[in-house]
C-alpha cells in the first residue's frame, strides 16, 4: 500500500478492505467518505465509516494532520440525541462533546470518534423508557439490563478499528475514565497518555459543585431529574474535584 498523503486516499485504500474484525463481535469498519466540516468550534474534516455488523454509520471528526501521527489527542463520544442535539440536562453529553471539539480545534491535531451507540447501545426508544422509569424513581440494574444496557466492549472494538483505519500510531486519550485506556490497549491501540476531560462550570452543571451524590448515588440536577453519565466517563467539572 502506498503511504496515504491525505485522508481522501483512505477511501481508495479501503475500497476492498476485508479483515477478521475486532472483538468478539468481529466488527470491521472501513472508510467510505471524507469531507470538509467547518464548525463553530473550528475547522474539521469528517470521515464516514461503513460497518459490517449493523447499520450504524460511525464518523470521525478530524482536525489537523493525523495521518501516521503519534500522541493524537482523541475523544470517544457516544451518540446522545437528547443531549448532543436537543440540549437535554439529564446528561452532560453536550458539554462533553463541545468541550472536546473546542479542545481539539485549538491543538495542532486531534480527533473525535462519534460512535452511533445511542443511549450506550440500547437505542433511543429504550433510553426514553429508562428515563420514564427514572421519572418514577426507579433506576434498577435488572430493568436497565432488560432494556439492553450493555458493557462498552463493542464500542472499544469499533473505536480501535477506526483509529487503525485512520493510521493513527498512538493516542492521547481525552478521558476521566482510566479503564478506557486499558480497553483500547487490549484492542491493539497504543495509548501514549491521558488528557483529563474537565468541563468548565456553567449554569447547567453547577450542581456538581454544589451538591454531593445523593443517597441513591445519583446526581440530581436542579430540575429534579436523575442525571446520567451517559458517556461512561466520570464527569469532572472544573473545581468539583476535592
Amino acid at each position: 500500500m502506498i503511504r496515504a498523503a491525505t485522508l481522501d486516499d483512505l477511501v481508495e485504500r479501503d475500497r476492498d478492505h476485508e479483515c477478521e474484525g475486532m472483538g468478539p463481535a468481529k466488527v470491521c469498519v472501513r472508510i467510505v467518505g471524507v469531507a470538509d466540516l467547518p464548525t463553530r468550534f473550528g475547522d474539521f474534516r469528517i470521515v464516514a465509516f461503513w460497518n459490517n455488523r449493523d447499520a450504524k454509520e460511525h464518523v470521525a471528526i478530524v482536525h489537523g494532520d493525523i495521518l501516521y501521527a503519534s500522541a493524537v489527542p482523541t475523544r470517544m463520544h457516544s451518540e446522545c440525541l437528547t443531549g448532543d442535539v436537543i440540549g437535554s440536562l439529564r446528561c452532560d453529553c453536550r458539554d462533553q462533546l463541545i468541550l472536546a471539539l473546542k479542545k481539539i480545534a485549538n491543538q495542532e491535531r486531534g480527533l473525535l470518534l462519534y460512535l452511533r451507540q445511542e443511549g450506550r447501545g440500547i437505542g433511543l426508544v429504550n433510553k426514553i423508557r429508562a428515563y420514564s422509569l427514572q421519572d418514577q424513581g426507579l433506576d434498577t440494574v435488572e430493568a436497565n439490563l432488560a432494556l439492553g444496557f450493555r458493557d462498552d466492549e463493542r464500542d472499544y472494538a469499533i473505536a480501535a478499528h477506526m483509529l487503525q483505519s485512520l493510521t493513527v500510531q498512538s493516542v492521547a486519550l481525552m478521558t476521566n475514565n482510566p479503564r478506557k485506556i486499558g480497553e483500547l490497549e487490549r484492542h491493539g491501540i497504543e495509548v501514549s497518555g491521558r488528557i483529563p476531560h474537565v468541563i468548565p462550570p456553567n449554569d447547567h452543571n453547577r450542581f456538581y459543585l454544589e451538591t454531593k451524590a445523593n443517597r441513591s448515588g445519583h446526581w440530581i440536577d436542579f430540575s429534579g431529574k436523575p442525571h446520567l453519565t451517559e458517556q461512561s466517563d466520570e464527569v469532572v467539572v472544573d473545581g468539583s474535584r476535592s
Partner: protein, 344 residues
Amino acid sequence: MQTLATHDTIVIGAGIAGLACAHSLAGAGADVVLLDRARGVGGRCATWRLRDQPIDHGVAFLHCASAEMWASIYAMPEGERIDGWPKSVSGRGSPCQPRAFFPDAHRMALQVGLTAWPKHLAAGLSVRLQTTVTRLSFAGGAVHVHLRDGGDLRATTVVLAMAGPQMDPLLTDLAEVTDELRATQRLLRLLTSLPSLTVMAIYDRPKTPPSWDVFYPEDSTVLQTVVQDSAKRREPRFGALVMQGRPRWSRQNLDAPAEQWTRALLEETARYAGAWAKRPLEFKAQRWQHARVDAGNELSGPILVSLPRDCRIGMAGELFSPGGGVEAAFVSGRRLAERLLGKG
C-alpha cells in the same frame, strides 16, 4: 399443622418459553413444576381439532435462526416435519414475522399439528394443567403461588412465562418487597402486545382450493393473515382455513360478541378466497388477547430479580428476546434457565 413442600422452581405458563426453561432446569436436576391455565401445553403454539382434523390456530408455522431451537425441533420423531412450509405465499401485506421470509430463513410446519413440539418438550416434566394462578406473595422464605381453586404452592424460585401484560397483576404484591420488581412492573406497563381475533373453519374440500398456503392481504383493515391449514395435512378430509384479524380491528372488537367478529372474518376472507369461504361446515372462534408482542417493545433478555432469603422471580417469553415470536420465547426460556443455574 401440615407444612407444604417448597419446590425449587414453579414455572407459570407452559408455553414455549416456560417449557424451554423448565426443560433445561429439569435436565440439570432441579425440581420443577409447570402450571398452565389451559387444557394443554404450548400456549400460542396451539392446535385444535375440528371433526378430528388438527388445525393450528395460533402460530401457523415455525421458523428460526437459533441452532438450539432447531436441535429441539429435530429431536422429535421423524416424518412429522414439513420442511419449507409455507411454500406458496400470496399477498403483499406484512407477515407478523417478516424475518420468516428472509432468503436464508428456514420454515417448517408439523403434519400432526404444531403442538407436537411443545408436547415433546413437556414429556417427563411435572405439568399441572387447568390451574390458574391469581396472585403471588412472599412469606416465610418462599414465594407463594395462589391458585384460583383456593390452594397455594410454594417455591424458592418462580418463573413467569406468559405475555408481558399478564405478568403485571401477578407482580403487584411482590412489588412491595423489592424496588427491582416495582421497576419491572412499571417497565412491563410501557411495553404493549397486539391482540388477534381468530377463526378456524373447516369446509367440504372446495373445488378450487386457494393456490396459496398463506395469504397476507395488503388492502384489508380486518384480516392480517389467512392460512390454508389443510395444506399442511397429509390427505386432509376437509379444507381448513385459519383467519387472523389485524391488531387494530381486533382491539376494537375485542369485547364484541364472537358471532359478530366471526362473521366479519369469514366475509372478509370470502372476498379473497371465494364465496365458499363464508359457509364453513364448522368453525371455532379464538380471542387471542395477547397474540404477539408489538414489534419494537422486546427487551434484550430475560429478567431475574432476587428476593430476600435466596428467593427469585424470573421472567421469560417472546417479550424477553429481540425479534419476538416463538424463537424469542424459546431463547429467552433457555437463557433464563442458564441464569437460574448460575451459568448465564
